[in-house]
């Protein structure tokens, strides 16, 4: 019976992953372009050029130099002026673009969207393996993985967010190997963990949380049981290999590893660019470098499906309570470890420790952030893990099979509801607000901060306006709309001319309501009186963008 059950669950898992992959492959071209993609492409080529300068591949280097020369944009920063970003994804993607000779902008952005999704898909498999490793129950692992994949904001971003989703994906893979090490320390797993932890750290410095936590937990093990000191040579090996791989994967560190690492850290904690930027948060404009305490918690609360949040709270309280009771009963001599009994408890505590420390660090040290919580999307790994833990505990506490079936049924029913919402939002799942908070959210929070709607707007305009050529479009928002033009067909690109804030020259105005200045005091994006609104794009009561036409 058990073997039959296992086989059924394996088939269901395989089927769901196949469906997930096929949906991604079928829809990756539906998504628009985010404002950072052009910079990241440029960043990839810049560092590829740097790396190739140490090699004898002159022809390849010339092709890369040519690509760099072709990248231009009025508002596009030059990578050398902003060298702090990791190249884990950008550099290989740039390399593949050259190798496969992808020259049309539309194609190379689609190609990168596909690669981005592919890595997220692989990460979701690893997330499933993490849950299976911890809960040893295929159905629970599958439900948790569905929570992970059906997180609308994360899913939407998985097609175009080449910073935060890559960081989340690499961290997921690193966490899997970290769990393997929490089970048993071996040189093979130490090496693999150091590789993925280094990849993830070089992508975003928050990736350091796993190796640091791993070392802290090792110290706690030693504190409880001196026998663990036998693993010390392995730990030293891990530290060395982590720093070696970190330097290898991050060309910015090659010239001066320590100083450049510290510079990046400083850049991450206080982003000088954000000094000029205001964010709409809770109905008021605030500085991106001076965020209120509730910034992250509010964003997570309003943009995560409510069931995941409720389960997370239950799970968090449960794990914290268990930790606290163990903590106050620590004895000088004990047969068990002080803060956990078995390895599963250790893993739960590891996750609790990570999410608590990261969120506290972000809140109390006033870390610069913008665009919702996208910089910290990786904490979704911990949120969903703890939600799954709560689901697992509730499931165990239900003794009768009927109650368990009811629990599974209601969870699946809710997941179908989330899928329905994701279909409604498609291809703007990145703008998701949960049902409790989505009413007129655009008045209180930034909605399309990454300008994904730019492409749809341009396509709409090409349908509406057939007579004028070129159609001059003004942008009454903080957005380089010219980058979205690259996702149009070649002929259509010629019909569009973006005139920025020179409203007097524009036939139409686009506004996605995003402003880096306080609209109460600054008229930069005020719609001139000779323009009237002819349309708007609304999802679930949230205004994404507005179209204005010149009337005289």
């Amino acid at each position: 019976m058990d073997i039959k059950n296992t086989n059924i669950s394996k088939i269901i898992t395989f089927l769901l992953f196949t469906i997930f992959f096929l949906i991604g492959v079928a829809t990756f071209k539906d998504y628009g372009i985010s404002i950072d993609e052009e910079f990241q492409r440029s960043n990839g080529f810049y560092w590829l050029n740097y790396v190739l300068s140490f090699t004898p591949f002159q022809e390849l280097n010339n092709a890369v130099s040519l690509k760099i020369a072709q990248i231009e944009g009025f508002t596009l920063p030059f990578p050398a002026d902003d060298p702090y970003y990791g190249v884990t994804f950008d550099l290989p993607a740039a390399f593949l673009e050259v190798i496969f000779k992808i020259d049309d902008p539309k194609n190379y952005f689609y190609f990168k969207h596909f690669l981005n999704f592919l890595l997220f898909f692989i990460a979701s498999i690893f997330f499933y393996k993490i849950l299976l490793n911890r809960f040893e129950n295929r159905y629970v692992a599958l439900i948790g993985t569905l929570f992970f994949v059906l997180s609308p904001r994360i899913y939407g971003n998985s097609f175009f967010n080449m910073k935060d989703i890559i960081s989340l994906s690499l961290l997921t893979i690193a966490l899997y190997y970290c769990f393997k090490l929490l089970d048993k320390i071996s040189y093979k797993n130490l090496l693999i963990f150091s590789i993925f932890a280094a990849l993830s750290t070089s992508q975003r410095m928050y990736g350091m949380c796993l190796p640091i936590s791993f070392l802290i937990f090792y110290s706690l093990s030693v504190l409880s049981n001196k026998k663990n000191l036998n693993d010390l040579p392995g730990i030293v090996f891990f530290c060395i290999s982590f720093f070696v791989f970190l330097t290898i994967f991050w060309p910015f560190l090659w010239s001066n590893p320590v100083e450049n690492f510290l510079l990046t850290f400083e850049h991450m904690t206080h982003h000088y660019f954000y000094e000029k930027i205001k964010l709409l948060f809770n109905g008021t404009y605030i500085s991106a470098n001076s965020l209120p305490y509730n910034y992250i918690l509010t964003w997570v609360l309003i943009s995560t499906p409510i069931l995941y949040t409720i389960l997370f709270l239950i799970g968090y309280i449960q794990i914290f309570k268990r930790f606290f009771l163990k903590f106050i009963h620590i004895k000088n001599k004990s047969y068990y470890y002080d803060l956990w009994r078995g390895v599963n408890e250790k893993k739960d505590l590891f996750i609790l420790f990570n999410i608590t420390c990261i969120v506290s660090y972000l809140i109390f040290f006033s870390i610069s952030m913008a665009n919702g919580w996208r910089h910290t999307f990786f904490i979704n790994i911990f949120i969903i893990y703890i939600s799954t833990y709560a689901f697992y505990c509730i499931n165990i506490n239900f003794k009768s099979i009927l109650k368990r079936k009811l629990l599974f049924g209601s969870i699946i029913f809710y997941l179908i509801f989330v899928i329905y919402k994701m279909v409604v939002y498609h291809p703007f799942q990145n703008l998701y607000f949960n049902s409790f908070f989505n009413q007129a959210s655009h008045k209180y929070f930034e909605v399309d901060y990454w300008g994904l709607s730019g492409r749809k707007f341009l396509e709409d305009i090409l349908v509406i306006e057939k007579k004028i050529d070129p159609i001059k479009i003004g942008v009454a928002s903080y957005l380089p709309l010219e980058r979205s033009v690259k996702l149009l067909d070649k002929n259509e690109r010629k019909k569009i001319e973006i005139v920025g804030q020179e409203y007097e020259n524009a036939h139409y105005l686009y506004s996605n309501l995003i402003s880096e200045v306080d609209k109460r005091y600054n008229d930069k994006y005020k719609i001139p009186s000779n323009f009237s609104k002819i349309g708007e794009f609304v999802i679930e009561g949230i205004t994404v963008y507005e179209i204005y036409k010149k009337v005289n």
């Binding site: 504190l223 409880s224 000029k276 205001k278 605030i286 500085s287 470098n289 001076s290 209120p292 305490y293 903590f327 620590i330 000088n332 002080d338 109390f364 006033s366 200045v517 306080d518 005091y521 600054n522």
Partner: protein
């Protein structure tokens, strides 16, 4: 030794949290206000207010009351006199 390490960690964490939730929170509020006050936007806002006030002054037939005009006149005359000496 082990208990000492745990107790020390506990006390450090408690002190940190207590500080952040009391003094730290107030400091943050103060920083936010200061950042807002120093911001380019606020400077622009003040400039705009001055411009608006100047425009109002230009549009009015008599900006100053007779009493104020007399007082300012006397004050300027006094300054002139002192400067010429």
């Amino acid at each position: 030794m082990k208990l000492f390490v745990y107790k020390t960690l506990f006390v450090v964490v408690c002190i940190f949290l207590l500080f952040q939730l009391t003094v730290g929170a107030k400091l943050k509020q103060f920083e936010e206000k200061l950042a807002n006050y120093k911001s380019q936007e606020n400077v622009e806002n003040i400039k705009n207010k001055i411009r608006k006030e100047l425009k109002n002054a230009v549009q009015k037939e008599n900006y100053l009351s007779a009493e104020d005009a007399k007082l300012i006149n006397q004050f300027i005359n006094k300054l002139k006199k002192e400067l010429s000496n």
